[in-house]
């Protein structure tokens, strides 16, 4: 193809119908996503009186509702003695941190160490574990939630945050494969050199391999953290005495305190809940959007 024809082709490809149509769809998508978020943000700074008179406009007086949410929002929980206790926002924040950080750490550490053993120790059992991961991913099992709750109750880990850490500390799932392929791709020369220098298995794993895996480990843990931070359905079922912020947000839908059951207050609580994840995303979006592939993290 001549240079002239190639240039004409590239020009025609520059603004094809396909490209324009996808761009329009993406712009519509962005508007559909941002408009409600923007409306929620604006509404969070209105009083209920102003909201009634002015639902979609900017507030005439910007009202700081966040302190009301922080000071007056409580979630009632039943204690084992049958009494009712009230959990405030700070306690919900602590519960959220304990639940998210603990589950994210355990849910990353176990697939990482199991994948390391399977990738680097050539036993038959390693092949069995790898096959189990693949089979469990391919064979969906539906409706095991009642049995899981029953199991948690009989083991005495129901309604305990550390109990959920244990339950989430499994090696099943896609992240096992991410770690497995990454450990497989690591050159054996490092570990062999360390072994010649007298390093044992623990030393090789903790001082040689894990530092090389820390990027992938951190990315997977970050993704897990955001998932657990946003999760309200697991705490709703397993942690009735330890409401998290996300669960508090859900409970707010059924609140009967007049001052808090308004739309501006609900939007304030939504923005309050949104800030930590948006801040994390702003700091680590390149890492989160990076090439987390079946072979680990590129670059």
């Amino acid at each position: 193809m001549s240079l002239k024809n190639r240039k004409t082709l590239q020009q025609s490809r520059k603004w094809s119908f396909f490209k324009a149509a996808v761009l329009i769809l993406l712009v519509i998508y962005a508007v559909c996503l941002f408009l409600p978020l923007l409306w929620a943000f604006i509404t969070a700074f209105k009083t209920q009186r102003e909201f009634r008179l002015n639902i979609i406009g900017l507030p005439k007086n910007w009202t700081w509702n966040f302190s009301t949410i922080y000071n007056e929002f409580y979630v009632p929980v039943s204690t084992q003695t049958g009494a009712t206790e009230y959990v405030n926002v700070m306690q919900m924040l602590i519960n959220s941190m304990l639940y998210s950080v603990g589950c994210a750490f355990c849910g990353t550490l176990i697939p990482c160490t199991t994948a390391y053993l399977c990738a680097r120790y050539n036993y038959r059992f390693s092949k069995l574990i790898y096959s189990v991961v693949i089979i469990v991913m391919a064979l969906p099992i539906v409706g095991s939630l009642p049995a899981e709750i029953s199991m948690a109750m009989s083991l005495g880990i129901y309604d305990k945050i550390w109990g959920l850490w244990l339950m989430k500390a499994h090696f099943l799932g896609i992240y096992f494969l991410v770690f497995f392929n990454m450990f497989r791709a690591m050159p054996a020369a490092y570990t062999e050199a360390a072994r010649i220098d007298g390093a044992g298995n623990w030393m090789v794993m903790l001082k040689i391999i894990m530092p090389m895996a820390k990027n992938t480990f951190f990315t997977v843990m970050l993704i897990n953290f955001i998932t657990y931070w946003n999760d309200y359905q697991t705490p709703l079922v397993y942690l009735p005495s330890y409401p998290t912020l996300a669960l508090g947000m859900y409970r707010m839908s059924y609140i009967t305190i007049n001052e808090l059951s308004t739309v501006p207050m609900r939007m304030t609580a939504a923005i309050f809940m949104l800030i930590p994840t948006l801040a994390l995303f702003a700091c680590f979006h390149k890492r989160l959007l990076g090439n987390l592939t079946m072979g680990g993290v590129k670059g």
């Binding site: 396909f18 996808v22 049995a147 029953s150 044992g200 298995n201 839908s253 609580a269």
Partner: protein, 305 residues
């Protein structure tokens, strides 16, 4: 002469000891929380639990009742049809759009970086937060905006059952792009430049290049999502719990939502066996369907060749 083999054996023993020590927890966890839970689920499906007398008896009634409910009860049949329709609509609209968006990002077309971030954003926002915001936006802001800017009087989108379901499909498609677009565009970035360049030299339009080069090359990734997605017919909550709590209207409920609400709202463990029985019946259906979809896609899906 014997020193080297002895050292070798000693090292092998130490390796095995280390391996067993580190592997012990993951294996016990798997045996308890996967094998144990699923075995318990199967057993519960055949049990009648009497909480008052603290007794458990074996019975086939749960399976029989669950089967009758799922095949004869009009409400459950409606839930089945909504679950299937929701699966088909969200995937039928969502997957092509996700592929087009991924291709747009992969080809680094205008504002691709911005759209990459925007498409991922719903994945990091809590479902309950997004649902709360959208619920009030379509209920309160949209009717006012329509009236104010277009002089059209309309009620909130979630009041009317028909517009409510359409809105739910729209919402689920809208928030479902994050991980898929990321995976598809990452898979596309692995396509060799020579291959895409050859299509351009042959005069292929962008769409033809997408259809004949990019799509076949990322088909293994797409297939993984399609195969894993079959189970969501029975597990997807369709974000109903975030919008309606335990009180979603009949016309929009899915199996995933129904099972979760019944389990979460159970007054005692005596209510679990029938739910476990329903889960087992669903698994019996979904496993062969998943395998069939996998085989069909492998046989008839586009090939990298």
């Amino acid at each position: 002469m014997n020193r080297i083999p002895n050292r070798h054996t000693h090292q092998k023993r130490r390796d095995l000891g280390f391996y067993m020590l580190v592997m012990a927890f993951p294996v016990i966890q798997f045996l308890v929380f996967y094998i144990g839970v699923n075995a318990k689920s199967i057993m519960m499906a055949f049990q009648r639990i009497d909480v008052a007398n603290n007794t458990t008896t074996w019975t086939m009634d749960n399976i029989r009742n669950a089967f009758q409910m799922m095949t004869g009860n009009p409400q459950m049949l409606n839930i089945l049809s909504v679950s299937l329709l929701s699966y088909l609509l969200t995937n039928g609209i969502g997957i092509p759009l996700a592929l087009f968006f991924s291709y747009y990002i992969y080809k680094k077309m205008p504002l691709h970086g911005f759209f990459r971030v925007i498409l991922f954003l719903p994945s990091i926002i809590s479902a309950i937060v997004l649902a709360t915001i959208y619920q009030f936006f379509v209920e309160r802001a949209i009717p006012v905006a329509f009236n104010q800017f277009f002089d059209i009087k309309t009620e909130g989108l979630m009041v009317n059952p028909d517009s409510c379901y359409i809105f739910l499909v729209f919402y689920n498609v809208l928030i479902g792009f994050g991980t898929t677009v990321l995976m598809y565009s990452n898979a596309m970035s692995g396509i060799s430049d020579e291959l895409a360049g050859a299509a351009q030299i042959d005069g292929a339009s962008l769409f033809r290049e997408f259809w004949h080069v990019s799509l076949p090359m990322i088909f293994p990734t797409l297939m993984t999502f399609l195969v894993a997605g079959v189970a969501t017919i029975f597990t997807n909550h369709f974000n109903l719990f975030s919008f309606f709590g335990e009180n979603a209207p009949d016309g929009v409920q899915t199996y995933g939502y129904y099972l979760y609400v019944k389990t979460q709202g159970a007054k005692s463990i005596a209510e679990y066996p029938i739910l476990s029985a329903m889960g087992i019946l669903m698994t019996v259906v979904v496993v062969p369907v998943t395998m069939l979809v996998k085989q069909l896609l492998e046989k008839y899906g586009p090939s990298e060749d």
